[in-house]
Structures are given as C-alpha cells and as structure tokens.
Amino acid sequence: MGHPVTTNPFIIMMINMTVVFIVLVALSFLIQLIHKIDPTKEPEEKESAPQVEEDEMQRLIKNVKDSKVVTDRDIPGEDESIPEEVIAAIVAAIARCGITGEVRAVRMVERDTTAWKSNARSNIGSSK
C-alpha cells in the first residue's frame, strides 16, 4: 500500500485536498452527464414561475402542515417535529416552482415524470 512520501504536514494537506477536489469535480461532471443523457427529462423546461404573494404563502404553509407526505421526502432524516422554518422553506420552494394548487403534487411530479411504471410493487412474499 501507499506510504506517505513526505512528512511535511502542509504538503500532505495539500495533496489530500487536491485529490478530494479532483474527485468531487469529476463527480459533478458525471452528474451533468447523467442529466444530459436522461431520456426521461422534459424537452423544454418552463422558466421561473411568477412570485406568489405572502397571503397565499401563509395558506400554503397551513396546507403543508396538514400533509405529512411532502416533508418526509424532502428533508432527510427528519421524521418528527418539523420546525416551522423548514416548512416555510419548502413552501417557498414549491411556491416558486409555480405549483400553487395541490401541494401533495410535489412528490407526484418528482416521481411520475418518468416513463417507468411505478405503481406495481412487488413484495418479499412474491420475491421468495
């Protein structure tokens, strides 16, 4: 296995840092590549939706609070007592996406804009 070729802390630090940056930059290009070859993406994405007013946002916050479905998907590792700011933020994000009617639709949009069938689920029983 590799042995450190130097004992200079600064050089070790720089080498490691460089490798990390190279790997993550490369990964970032891979993500863009995935996006490019994505056969399921919509050909033309609509540009920024109009801002929603504050009142409407308040109403949305209320809606989101009533439906747990959205939040358990959007915030990793958050399963209870979602702070208000989180909800507010999600609603803001949603609102700016132009989806003002049905908040639960967020998940639907994410999931269903694919060509894959996603409603037929197997189970262990059938996967014996």
Binding site: P4, I12, I31, I34, T40, V86, T113
Partner: protein, 377 residues
C-alpha cells in the same frame, strides 16, 4: 461458630472480587466523564441517540472485574467485534443512504464543490495534529472529526488509530450538536450583509432517472478510484437506491428503522466501551478536542469562502451562507444556513438550497477518508 466464620469469609470474598476493591482513580474519572456525557446527551440533547449509549458504554467499561474483554466471548465482546472489524459503520450508512435525498445536489451539481471546500477543515486539522506531535495516521483520524459524519469518523479511527476511537467519536458527535453555536459567528464574520441577502432561484425538478442513476455512477466512479472506502460509500448508495428505486420500499424502511436502530445501539454502546482510562485520560484527548473544533471551524470557513467565490462568479446568484452546510451534519448545518439567511433577510428561504452542499458534505467526507486511507494505509 462455623456460621460466623463462613459468613465473614464469604463476605470478604465477595468484596475482594467486587469492583470496589480494584477501583482506580482512572475508573472514577472515566465514570465521571460518562456521567457528564450522559448529561450532555439527555439534558443538553447533544445527539442523544449516539452520545447517550456512548456515555453509558463508557461507564460500563470502567467497572473493574466485569471480564468483558477477557478471553471468553460475551455480549459486550460480540458488540466490540462489530466495532473492531468495522461491521457497524457501513450498516449505519445503509440507513443514512435510505434517509438521504440527493435531489438538491443533482439539481445543482456544482454544490459538490462546496462539499469539497468544507473538507478544508479536515486537512487543516490533520496538519495541525501533525504539528503538535501526532503521527500521520492519528492526525488523519483526528482531522476527519471536521467531516461531521459520525460513522465515517468511527470507520477511519478504527482503521488508522483505534486507541483514539473514544475521544474522536465523542468530539465528532459533540461538535455536530454544537453546529448551531459554532457556525453562525464564522458565517457572519466572513460574509457581508449584501452577500447574506442574496436570494437564490428555485431548484429545477430532478427526474427519477437521475435519482436512480446517480448512486450507481457515484459508487462505480468513487469505488474504482478509492477502493478503501467502497464498504462505506457502497452501502450509502445501496441504501439510497432502496429509497429511490420506488420498488424496494420494504428494504428502505428496514434500512432506515429497525436495522439502523439496532446497529446504532450496538455501535454507540460499543464505541463507549472502548473508552478506558488508559487511552482516554491523556493530554492528547484535550488536543483532539481542540483540533476537532479547529476542524469544524475550518470546514465552515472553507465552505463559506468558496461560497463567496461562487457568489461573484455567478453574478450574485449564490448565497455564500449555503457553503457552511458543506460540513454535512445533515440536516442541522443546512438549518443553520437557513436561520442565518432569515436573520439577514426575512423570507429568504435557503434551506433547500443548503441541502445540496449538505449532502455533498457526506460524499466529500467519505472521499476525504478514502483518500487518506489510500495514502496512509
């Protein structure tokens, strides 16, 4: 007086075999350390799910004559086996993968750079540790505290410096809890009011194709480049596949809940049980705690500074505050970005934007750990 004789001899024998008779000052101090950690876990609520069992394990490990680490197998030794051979951290990462939404990262792939910049703290602490006299392996294990990823820290400590495991785990989890106190001053110091007020545009929709392909591609690329981290990173991505495939909800649920909780109990208790007086009550422990803080502060600064660069480079479209989320500590660091942003400009919701660097930090720390393993092991 057979009875009286037998009685006093027996009582004497029980006392001699008891822990009181061979109790050392070191044991006493370590039990006190355990009690302080319990206080931090349960009253101050510093990562109670981890620090709680770690603290209790620390107390258990410091009772003399329990024979937990004798030759014969027992439940504590079995748990220790799962620590020593790095079996538990990858299983926790399986659960974390199933909990993680890489969507915000996929929508803005360049946030990976913020996740890389936040690893600066790791390497600053590594250099610092070498300067104050740790050898390079110990220094790497100490540095990774700045990665703010418990299982990665534990994994690397076991591989490179098992005698420091207790101190490193405690420092990592403690500072992760303290993120809301450590980060804001640094963030405010390094950013101008104008920068903090930057409003970011919405994230684009991420398709299921991207969500499913990303963990596969990332596993292949990183594992080929840095094989020593495959066990950890592969499990993270397998868990994420369980989540995103849409047809393995049963496995995703189990990975996140029963399996993750069971392994958490064992990993944390077992980590606590490595905290014996001999390894923990040394001046190095204090150094590790100081270096851990430097690592966290360095990571925060690194993320914010690269955020500033990006802010200018993109024509004020990036709020530098999301850079600090790159230390990971999911989702707390992202919430800190949100809070500082809201204070600068009410209604400036940064949370979802900060989730990108936040999960990027998990990958960044795994890559940093893999790099150090590749170079040092």
């Amino acid at each position: 007086m057979e009875f009286i004789d037998a009685f006093s001899v027996s009582l004497q024998s029980v006392w001699n075999d008891s822990g009181f008779s061979s109790f050392t000052v070191g044991n006493g101090i370590m039990i006190l350390v355990g009690l302080i950690l319990l206080y931090m876990a349960f009253v101050k609520e510093f990562e109670p799910l981890l620090l709680g069992p770690i603290a209790f394990g620390c107390i258990l490990a410091n009772f003399p004559n329990t024979d937990f680490f004798g030759e014969e197998m027992n439940v504590m030794k079995a748990i220790n086996f799962g620590i020593t051979y790095e079996i538990f951290p990858p299983l926790i990462f399986l659960g974390i993968g199933a909990m993680t939404d890489f969507g915000p990262l996929l929508a803005r792939p360049w946030t990976l750079l913020l996740g890389a910049a936040a690893q600066i703290g790791v390497f600053v602490a590594l250099a610092g540790a070498m300067i104050v006299g740790f050898d390079v392996k110990e220094a790497a294990a100490i540095g990774i505290i700045g990665g703010a990823d418990g299982p990665t820290s534990i994994y690397l400590s076991i591989k490179l410096a098992p005698h420091l495991l207790g101190a490193i785990a405690v420092a990592a989890y403690t500072y992760m809890s303290l993120v809301p106190m450590i980060q804001p001053p640094i963030m405010k110091l390094l950013t101008s009011q104008k920068e903090r007020e930057v409003v970011m545009t919405e994230l684009r929709t991420v398709t299921k194709f991207e969500r499913v392909v990303f963990p596969i591609v990332a596993t292949i690329f990183i594992s080929l480049l840095l094989p020593p981290i495959t066990a950890l990173l592969g499990m993270l991505m397998l868990g994420n596949l369980f989540r995103e495939s849409g047809v393995t909800d049963r496995l995703s649920d189990t990975a996140q809940n029963s399996l993750c909780n069971i392994v958490t109990i064992f990993l944390a208790t077992g980590t606590g049980m490595t905290m014996n007086a001999k390894d923990f009550l040394v001046p190095e422990t204090l150094l590790i705690i100081c270096l851990g803080l430097i690592a966290f502060m360095g990571g925060t600064a690194g993320g914010v500074l690269l955020g500033k660069v990006m802010c200018r480079a993109t024509g004020w479209k990036i709020n530098p505050l999301i850079g600090s989320a790159g230390v990971s500590a999911v989702p707390m660091a992202a919430r800190v970005s949100q809070l500082v942003g809201m204070k600068a400009k009410p209604g400036n919701y940064l949370l979802m934007h900060a989730m990108g660097p936040n999960v990027a930090g998990v990958i960044g720390t795994a890559v940093a750990a893999g790099t150090m393993l590749a170079m040092l092991k």
